[in-house]
Symmetry: C2
Subunit: 140 residues, 2 copies
């Protein structure tokens, strides 16, 4: 009795996720897509589970996690319930890390906002002279 399920080709997946074919193959080679199977002709067929892995890869990449750590996480998922605590800990640490990044990003944005005002004024003045005098700052 063969299980029938909807699957996708690497080309379809590349389009869906806006990734290049070599990138997806690279992720597969690196072990980032657990349980990804090939048909009798050796062609990859992506299940919903595999698409879920890719979604998670995108999330973890966005959080700044390196490929080898994403791989580690994916390997843990293959270990089942035995690795639940490791995965829980990973996400808790990642959360703290991402919060720090967002704080840094907010500071960066504040500086950029300041610079936008600074250069907005300087541009309409035609010179940095007055706006620079106004704030006694010389950060280029």
């Amino acid at each position: 009795m063969e299980e029938m399920m909807i699957t996708y080709s690497i080309g379809e997946v590349a389009e869906k996720f806006n990734l290049s074919l070599p990138t997806i193959r690279y992720y597969d080679k690196e072990g980032l897509i657990p349980n990804l199977r090939k048909n009798d002709a050796g062609v990859r067929r992506f299940t919903q589970e595999n698409l879920g892995s890719l979604q998670m890869i995108e999330c973890l990449k966005n959080a700044g996690m390196p490929i080898r750590d994403i791989k580690q996480f994916m390997q843990w998922t293959l270990e089942g319930n035995a690795s639940l605590e490791k995965r829980y800990k990973m996400f808790q640490e990642l959360r703290v890390n991402v919060l720090k990044q967002m704080e840094a990003m907010q500071n960066t944005l504040n500086t950029i906002d300041f610079k936008c005002k600074y250069y907005g004024q300087a541009t309409s003045d035609g010179t940095e002279k007055y706006v620079k005098e106004d704030m006694h700052l010389e950060i280029s």
Copy 2:
């Protein structure tokens, strides 16, 4: 008549900014620190202006700007008022870019928060079974 001003050694600057000495030398070589001078012995002496450049480098790096674009900006500052509009435009575009990054980061955080709850429950259950059933999701 020699101008007297407070300057810092590369070692002091490295400590202040928590950067390695080779990194600072690399930035200098790449033209990221305009007007950085050396004393008669060929040793770099950092002025307040140079520290300002380093501060800005940190900000722009944090915004995800590549070294070559930071260099471009620094070269523009050397052109004076003629480049004010270019610099203004740069910061306006950077602002939009950073806002996009923050939005992406917020989405990432939401996913991670969800995963924290998911694995928190799964860990106390000792299995993913129930929490997985509860949400009809199979994202690893």
